[in-house]
Assembly symmetry: C2
Homo-oligomer: 164 residues x 2
DNA sequence: ATTTTTGCAAACCATTTGCAGCTGG
DNA sequence: CCAGCTGCAAATGGTTTGCAAAAAT
């Protein structure tokens, strides 16, 4: 999966690991070594990833964690609001939620690139629409699908001069 | 799956079946009996459904079509822009695209109800954002998740008087 | 000590596919 | 006729789960 176009992180007082420990503590659960390995690895770089990529990545880094534990921990991290789950394809992709401003996505259907963007209008629209329908909104997902500039150029190359 | 709150259909000159036949013809493919059964059944009632419900529904109606054919035909109908695919859960749900205005969804996380709504602001926002990022938008998905009025009342019942 | 977690392998489950026979045009 | 389609059963592939051993508090 392509890296998202990066956005500026929000300053946080707690590390993701601390936040996870708190979350687990409240539920009487434990911050174990595999979980520590996972959360550190995941928050080491800001990018979108899926379970499979995570397993492969960890293996490369010599920090092997079993597939089941990866799946189980991903679910926990979503419940803890540390990660957000995206459903672009048939598999689940994940992105940082903690320490990042809320945002939405552009998805290029050609090259699969995912671009993040912030736009205040969306939240306003969401609130207006929810109000109108008697909903109490807890979240939203706004995904624009299309073709990015690079792929547009590839498909319908204008004048060769444009490329020089 | 709960029925969507209905919207007013758009008047169409061709039936879904005719539109499907044209689509198939262009690709040198055939409008067979199982496909006719499916498209008629699907466009008989405006509601969201998934592959499983469709198979069950057809069985009840005494019009059995094999699961494989259902899946294969659903894919075709999406390609033909007769249906739209939604990914609310882990399984794919479908809704009418042809003959219906483009719209988005509110999803109640308590009772699973899906409410459709139209809002011009979304398309404008989508175009503005796409332009800003050099994307050529081909579509979007805007899903507001929250709690509907009925469920809100169930969870935090105010005064009994409100209900009388 | 007791409860939770891990890793493995097996199970799950929605969806896809190979294939032999059937069907539409 | 002949390409495309169907239904069946088997395969696929991402994700979940049962269980015995291991680890955390």
């Amino acid at each position: 999966m392509a890296d998202p176009v990066a956005m500026t992180p929000i300053p946080t007082t707690e590390s993701p690991e601390e936040k996870f420990r708190e979350f687990l503590e409240i539920r009487g659960e434990k911050l174990t070594e595999p979980r520590r390995v996972l959360i550190r690895h995941i928050f080491d770089a800001h990018k979108h990833f899926d379970a499979d990529e995570l397993v492969a990545d960890l293996r490369l880094a010599g920090r092997q964690v079993s597939r089941s534990t990866v799946y189980r921990t991903l679910r926990l991290l979503v419940e803890a609001n540390l990660l957000r789950e995206l459903r672009l394809n048939n598999r689940s992709a994940y992105e940082h939620d903690y320490g990042y401003p809320s945002h939405d996505h552009l998805h290029c259907s050609e090259c699969n690139e995912v671009v993040e963007f912030c736009n205040d209008g969306i939240r306003q629209l969401r609130e207006a629409i929810s109000l109108e329908h008697g909903f109490r909104a807890t979240g939203h997902r706004f995904l624009i699908t299309g073709v990015c500039q690079a792929c547009s150029r590839k498909r319908s190359p204008r004048r060769r001069l444009d490329l020089i």
